[in-house]
């Protein structure tokens, strides 16, 4: 009975401690225009045995929040509402809180509220769901010429301010997490101070990075195979069963506009991000290092840590 109890206890303990939530591994890179890197991503191909398959271009619309003192940016977090193309002809809406990357090996905290269509708010005294509200706001951004002038969004900003004021204590994941992480700064009263500070859009070119059987053998001494479950395996790897999915990459071309007083009207950013997809950490780390080294040599990529939000805020506040 004693051995049985200890065995169960051990497995229970290891079960609890192996559980983690909201953590992803990724690396970010900056690059200079004119190096041919964007063109390489567009066309796909191979770089020293690593194959790249460019599979989609998706547009993202973002609305970032912070306090008047930019407490989130100061503390290394970003909070945004995002409308994004889902790659299947529709859009997804999320409300996300992310931490800044602390090291180049990139473990980032990320939590999100994924369904915004059942949150209701009042806009111009009309009941509207948050997703539809964001549609309207981002449409407005695309239509107007002076995108960085807060006055043109005033009715939207007022509606969001009222929503945040009411919802600060509600069970909304980013608010719960902020309160958990920084309860002094983000008490319910602190959360109520959050306001939209940036609006913008990005075009994301997404690619699979993989090894074919021959290159896999050459690089690792074995033919690696896909380890992801079928429901999470992209179509490309279902039809190319000998290709082993290592990483997912995204090249973002973004523009942001301030919703506060700034001498800059807009900021344009280019960023390349690589996220690990191969579930064997030791192998994937070696391969990611090798891939990174080739990118640096061929296209002059350099590691960056700051999020798009932090880069923009630093530029707008200068």
């Amino acid at each position: 009975m004693g051995i049985r109890f200890l065995f169960v206890l051990f497995l229970f303990w290891t079960g609890i401690h192996s559980f983690s939530q909201g953590i992803e591994t990724q690396r970010k890179y900056g690059f200079e225009q004119g190096t041919g890197f964007s063109s390489f991503i567009d066309k796909g191909g191979e770089i020293n045995g690593f194959s790249l398959f460019h599979h989609s271009d998706l547009t993202y619309y973002d609305l970032y929040f912070d306090t008047p003192n930019f407490d989130l940016a100061e503390q290394g977090y970003s909070l945004r509402m995002r409308k994004k193309e889902d790659g299947e002809g529709g859009y997804a809406y999320v409300f996300q809180l992310k931490s800044e990357m602390e090291t180049a090996n990139g473990v980032r905290m990320e939590v999100e509220e994924t369904e915004l269509d059942f949150y209701l708010l009042l806009h111009k005294e009309v009941k509207i769901d948050l997703a539809t509200f964001l549609d309207s706001l981002f449409n407005k951004m695309q239509l107007v010429k002076e995108k960085g002038t807060s006055e043109i969004y005033q009715s939207y900003l007022d509606a969001l301010a009222a929503w945040i004021d009411f919802k600060a204590g509600a069970p909304i994941v980013p608010f719960q997490k902020l309160h958990f992480l920084m309860s002094d700064l983000f008490s319910i009263e602190g959360i109520k101070k959050l306001r939209p500070v940036l609006i913008g859009q990005s075009v994301r070119s997404r690619s699979h990075i993989y090894l074919n059987a021959e290159n896999s053998l050459q690089k690792t001494g074995e033919i690696l195979s896909n380890k992801t479950v079928e429901s999470e395996t992209p179509e490309f790897f279902k039809t190319n069963s000998k290709a082993c999915w290592l990483f997912e990459s995204s090249l973002d071309e973004s523009v942001f506009y301030p919703l506060f007083q700034s001498s800059l009207k807009s900021v344009q950013l280019s960023e390349f991000e690589v996220e690990n997809k191969f579930p064997m950490p030791e192998k994937s780390l070696v391969l990611m290092n090798e891939f990174e080294a080739h990118l640096k040599v061929e296209y002059g990529l350099f590691n960056t840590l700051n999020s798009k939000y932090l880069q923009s805020i630093l530029a707008f506040r200068e």
Binding site: R4, F118, A170, Q176
Partner: protein
Amino acid sequence: MIRVILTIVWLVLATKVTATTARGTLRLPLHPQEVNDLVLQNRINLFKTRAISNYLTNVDILEFQGFPLPKRKKAFMRHIKHLNEQLEWAYLTNETLNDSHYEILYEITLFYHSFQQAAIMDANVIKSRKEQIELYRTAKKSLRAFSYRIPVDQKKVEEEIDSPYWHHVPDSLLYKQFDKLAKEKKVKTKKQMIVLFDGLSYSGSAPKVKGLDLDYDNEWSLKWGDEVHTDVLGSRIFAALGYDVDHPYFYGKDELTLVFPPDQTVKNAQQLKDSILLVYDVDLTHFISSYGEIDDQLIKNEKKLKPFFGYSYVRFLKCALEGRPDRVKRIGSILPNHLSNNQRRPLRAALLAHAFIGNWDTREENTCLTTVHDGNYHYRISAIFSDLGTSFGVKVNAFPPDFKVGLVNEFEWEVFQLKRNKIVLKNSINAMLDPYVKANYEDLKWMAQLIGRLDGETLKKMIAETGWPAPIAELYFHKLASRRANILEAFAIADRHPISFDRHFNFIENGIYIIKDGELKVDYKRLENPESFLEKKGRERNYGH
């Protein structure tokens, strides 16, 4: 013409809508204090409803009274947020509370307490010797606890309305109800099942492991031992009586293949046997029919095994497979002892349902509050009676602590002892939950009427699902028919579907009396039935092997 077309369209739509079980109402004539606490001057008490919703959705709240809280499932949190949003909007727009708001208040209160209860129950999975003895004592005590004076003036028993605790089942659907519930939850079985090993299980006393569908969508619990037949029948009878249940299925020799993916901790049949022996003290050797590595020959017979070429597998003489569908999220107990739930007739009357199948283990742990995803992000709360397998003839042993179920000779011919002016329930149970203690004559009569609706054909079909060998199945049929007749007699209910039975039933095979005078005489085909239908040594004594 247009009106006719519209009527047809409406009828088609209405039929579609009623195909899914409706939630029913949770409201009681008197609201429990915990629900009243969420109301302030006839409006939502937003501070308190948010506190509950936050508790149920905030993954950073990890403990209750020092016990780890279970993992919050995404779908469950989504459901809570949907409910909370409705309350928030009602508060924001100054709505006066109506019935639908109260339904939500009941629901979040139930989830809140059930979730906390789960933390306590999970921490108490392994019973101490003292607790085991207490269960034994309660079982003894229960034999004298449930006697009912027959009222001189018998009142008409009122109809019960549907609730998440119970649903009316039409006569024509009694047998089909179990399958209907399974279909709603997307539990899909095949005659030949392939299940991927997905980890050991540590709950309960019957040996079991976790498995996955080939599409990795749905989980299964794979069980062996003396409950593989009984659980199947108990759950089907409870479903026909109107309760929601788990979905166990019997699989006979070589009908199920358990495949071991190489990345799992348990990689083959030997390691499975070692693990089950360590966790449950049960030697699976006697339950295994074949094992090895998946080769071309196996793939030729079952093409779906192709992706697993070279993997280890094992097959069994018999086992039960219970669905853990993705559409159903399990929270905690159905809280029989809290929130005025002892006022609910279906819960009080469940005492007789347990007695009908001779269920012994009536602990709160064997109930489960769930959310069922009906599609399109619509979730429904539902109360489940689970683990109904400790039934159909139970022998409990105090020293050494052990019990055995499915002993047909221990399953009595009657449920009630009928006296001149009172009836005494003869079933022994190990937990006298509040609703059972509060159950009165009318409550049990209400259940007796439901049991009376089960006809011979329905019982036969249900028994056929259990996989019991023919003589055992037939003896059970006679005994269930007898118990049903005894229940109807106890409540003076006219039998609309009399089922003939023979208390002196004989079954002769190859000139040998297998069953004589209504009693099993032979340890029938012991090699094919390693748990045995006669041997009284149970799971704690390795079924006498």
